[in-house]
Amino acid sequence: MSESDIGLWAVPIAMLGGAIRVSTPFIFVSLGECITERSGRINLGLEGTLVFGAMSGYAIAYETSSAWLGVLGAAFFGALFGLFHGWICKLPKVNDIAIGIALMLLGMGLAFFFGKPYIQPVAPDLPALSFGFWSDVPQVQAALQVNVLFILGLVLAVAIAWMFKSTKIGLTIRVVGDSSDAARALGISANKVRLFSTAAGGALAGVGGAYLSLYYPGSWNEGISSGQGLMAVALVIFARWNPINCIWAALLFGAAGALGPALQSVGVSSGYYLFYAAPYVLTLLLLIATSSTTRALNGAPGELSISK
């Protein structure tokens, strides 16, 4: 190996690499949740969908020897979970948050149950593109190994932002999310829109799960998610229901998560528990800094059960 000594530069490079490597599941889950919440529903079950996506993606990739089929399969099962959530929430007097928590536990339980035989085998990984060819520093090259799904996530964020702003579908979702009464007056079925929005959100969360098991860290085990699905749901509020902001928030979380290991690797080793809390401290600080005493939850869809 010919790694050169880069000293303290390791920290920013690791944070850059961490932002790219770790953020992708956050991007997909938060984009998915963004669509769901803009239609006026909260799906807290995405943690379960993420874990089930990780398991089903890994299992399908292993059985078919194709990582991309795994991603598609994960999206399919994610959509099923979303449809299930949307269908139950359609029934009268059902609370979407409670159903979300139930689906989270169901998704994880099912994933653990069906995932048992797939902990040991090694499935094919998703390919990565090397954007570090211009540098001869191996650490930079390693940090700039970018997975196709990350790029897809960026493109998707722009596409979703455009969809909300200037397409009929986007407008329909926003109307349903902001006022069911207005939607009904326009002849739009709020439940149908929410059903499909939740399904789309579930499918994206499934893809986020497939990234976890098929690229980074790149294997299926029961501790693979460690709460990332829940964090991503919180990110949506942090990003003020804006898909582009979801990207920044996800990158920030990825980078902050890489801070702890990177600092230890350059010798700043005391108090590492505090560094591991960095993403959460950062969230708190930013939320406090951007909060307002005059407006409540700027940008929140009107029909959301937390803003009603």
Binding site: M1, I119, V122, P217, Q228
Partner: protein, 374 residues
């Protein structure tokens, strides 16, 4: 609305009576079956096929299952909380378990210490806990293996393989056993070349896949070219390190299939042997010592076969050291030695043999380890 789900008082009482009857029955039936054999309970903190800590214990449990007269009950993913107390109680009350192996370190205090006094006829065998006769109940025992010796041998293989003179360790939590492993890994490597340093990164959790991968990448970024770990499931560390082109040394179980070319060797548990002996001695009417320890010689631990990247010089030193460990009395910490903050931990001429109980409360990292425990 409410009438739809209303349960009549009569059906409620009926249900409760049935439940109570079933409870009474199930605690009687296994009790009578016990005369013919022994029900052994195993509790794992994670999934039992994690390529690591829990798999090593589960392989031991599988060996016990084959013994005639033994009924095995297992539960995985039991958190180190009051949950483990409930699981143990249910194994005792419902399955009639008389010998229980709560295998995770954090199960001991306060959970085993809470449950054990209530069930004096049940034996609790805890992996790694510091049982002491004056403080803890007599029906609790602790057992562990001197796997630090395995990490010392890992270190020898690593010391020969490293070109950058930097080796790395992904560690979960700074508990004594982890510290001993880190120190042993470095000292093994330093027996090859005293210039070698070992970079350690603590993840703070026994199982946290993304953080383990980040830690491994951070080590590789620093030019570390041999990596080992002490986390519950080493699969992520092994695959990530091998993906970065670093050599790997295994831990807990054999991970060579994950990186066939870059796997040097690994320190593995051999619980099948240990558990079989314990269960057979109970079946024969004997007892288990409260304090059981063993190393390579006693068959508590074993080494993975050396990988293709191990040189002949490395192989010779590895085998010679292994042979002298097998003889017993081998010491990793030999004075004069300082820790990495400059405190003296061993005077000249002082050494701590593998069986020294003071090693089980190790709270320092030796000179040459880059990292800190807090």
């Amino acid at each position: 609305m409410s009438s739809k789900f209303h349960t009549s008082r009569r059906s409620l009482i009926k249900g409760m009576a049935g439940l109570a009857g079933a409870t009474a029955l199930s605690s009687v039936v296994p009790g009578s079956a016990f005369a013919a054999g022994l029900t052994v309970g195993f509790l794992y903190v994670g999934p039992k096929d994690d390529f690591g800590y829990n798999q090593a214990h589960a392989e031991g449990a599988a060996a016990v299952k084959g013994i005639e007269g033994v009924t095995l009950v297992e539960e995985e993913n039991v958190p180190e909380t009051v949950d483990v107390q409930k699981s143990m109680e249910s194994m005792i009350n419902f399955d009639g378990a008389k010998l229980i192996f709560p295998t995770s370190f954090g199960y001991f205090d306060p959970h085993i210490l809470e449950v054990a006094p209530k069930h004096e006829d049940v034996r609790f065998q805890h992996a790694g806990g510091l049982w002491s006769a004056d403080k803890h109940p007599q029906n609790v025992g602790s057992y562990f293996g001197y796997i630090g010796m395995g990490q010392y041998l890992n270190g020898i293989a690593a010391g020969h393989a490293t070109k950058s003179k930097k080796i790395g360790f992904v560690a979960a939590k700074p508990i004594p056993q982890v510290m001993l492993n880190i120190n042993s890994f470095l000292l093994g490597a330093r027996s090859v070349d005293p210039e070698i340093t070992c970079q350690v990164i603590f993840t703070g959790e026994w199982s946290m896949a993304v953080k383990e991968a980040e830690a491994t990448n951070a080590l590789a970024d620093q030019g570390v070219d041999v990596i080992t770990c002490h986390v519950d499931g080493p699969k992520v560390v092994m695959e990530t390190a091998a993906g970065r082109g670093a050599f790997v040394c295994g831990y807990h179980a054999d991970q060579s299939p994950l990186a066939p070319d870059l796997y040097l060797t690994g320190a593995e548990w051999n619980w099948a042997n240990v558990y079989t002996n314990m269960v057979q001695s109970v079946l024969a009417g004997g007892s288990i010592d409260n304090f059981v320890r063993g190393g390579l010689a006693e068959g508590f631990i074993k080494m993975s076969p050396l990988g293709p990247a191990v040189s002949d010089a490395a192989r010779n030193q590895f085998e010679a050291t292994k042979a002298s460990i097998m003889k017993g009395g081998f010491a990793v910490i030999n004075g004069p030695m300082k820790d990495n903050t400059g405190n003296v931990i061993a005077e000249a001429g002082q050494s701590f043999e593998e069986t020294d109980v003071s090693l089980e409360s190790m709270n320092y990292l030796v000179e040459g380890v880059i990292g800190s425990a807090s």
